[in-house]
Symmetry: C2
Subunit: 200 residues, 2 copies
DNA sequence: ACCTGAACACCGTTCAAGT
DNA sequence: ACCTGAACACCGTTCAAGT
């Protein structure tokens, strides 16, 4: 057929990312493929390789939008909180709820691994750092005399806990031998950690 | 060829699991396949489906041995510790080191997902519960008056943190904008959490 | 210049046919 | 009874050939 200029390079990229997100939402992680994306946007697989280097690059773009939404979700709830502790709790629960509501994309963000040599591009790392920065702010309020580096480490510590609870919880590795709901678990985890952090 | 009775069903299963572990160690997660396992043990793919229902069942067996080793590693270091806090720290670091040294298998244990309907078999859940039980013991010592259920929840909370730090750390999602080594991060996380937990 | 379609080297899974 | 080998329906990726 060889249709010409129906869409620009950028338009095809945008269409592909949107199609990939649809497939993830409807069919779950693991059923995403270049061939399915190509079919969904009405082009051949070959065309996909004209606008993306490979599947990894497409997934990286999908993950970037996931990360953006994740940050937006966390920031949104942190506005109308009375103190740093409730802010951090609200952010943690927002993270959990995003992961629950967008399980396939949230999963892909953390399970996807680039091939051996390939490093994650700088702009992507910067995005991740941006999320941690949002977590740092309330921690800084909690301990105004600490330097930024200390609070950045604390942000990584507390978020490791929140992320880990989501990971284990949403993958069914927490709830047996009794009810252990991720949200109550996360609230208690954040509470206990912050007692220690505030005291030091 | 159709060789007969060279190996029993159980022997073929054991050989396959061992071969799968080798492939994971040498080629990383994601390059495990039924065809590679079959070739490694000198049988056809068809034979693999005679002794395992499918790839998921083989992986479940591999994950079971990983879980056993993980528990052994944690228990080993908890023997000669002076108090519950140092026990928990030692266990957390043992978990990290196992994950570092056996990255492919540790990854597989947490990234593998069974197809939609399939539930994880009970015996596997029991294994996971067994690991949490080991974490519960020192927590119980720390707060002898608390009931088992409270300590089991705490075990899940603290291990969410340890697991999350391993996950993010080993996948390069922690160390940018400064050095954040997983081991110092985990130690501090456990310390802070336990201050809160002991106080309550 | 843009896009296709067929090819290549892989997958998981099944099952008639061979010994 | 045990095992094979070919088949089916999928993958990611490449690239000569078409318009």
């Amino acid at each position: 057929m060889a249709r010409r200029n129906d869409h620009s390079r950028e338009e095809i990229q945008a269409m592909a990312i949107e199609a990939a997100i649809d497939i993830l939402n409807n069919e779950g992680p693991g059923s995403l493929s270049t061939r399915k994306v190509a079919k969904a946007i009405g082009y051949t697989v070959g065309t996909l390789y004209l606008v993306f280097k490979n599947l990894d690059e497409l997934i990286l773009q999908v993950n970037a939008t996931t990360l953006d939404e994740l940050e937006d979700g966390i920031v949104a709830v942190s506005q109308d909180q009375l103190n740093p502790v409730s802010t951090l709790k609200a952010m943690a629960l927002a993270y959990l709820h995003y992961a629950q509501d967008n399980f396939a994309r949230w999963s892909l963000l953390f399970t996807w691994r680039l091939p051996e040599g390939e490093p994650v591009p700088e702009w992507f790392d910067a995005k991740v750092a941006g999320v941690f920065e949002k977590v740092r702010e309330p921690l800084q309020q909690l301990r105004p005399d600490s330097d930024a580096q200390t609070c950045l480490q604390a942000a990584r510590e507390i978020w490791s806990g929140v992320h880990g609870a989501c990971d284990l919880g949403l993958n069914g590795k927490l709830s047996f031998g009794g009810e252990f709901k991720p949200d109550t678990l996360i609230e208690s985890l954040v509470e206990n950690y912050l007692i220690g952090f505030a005291k030091a």
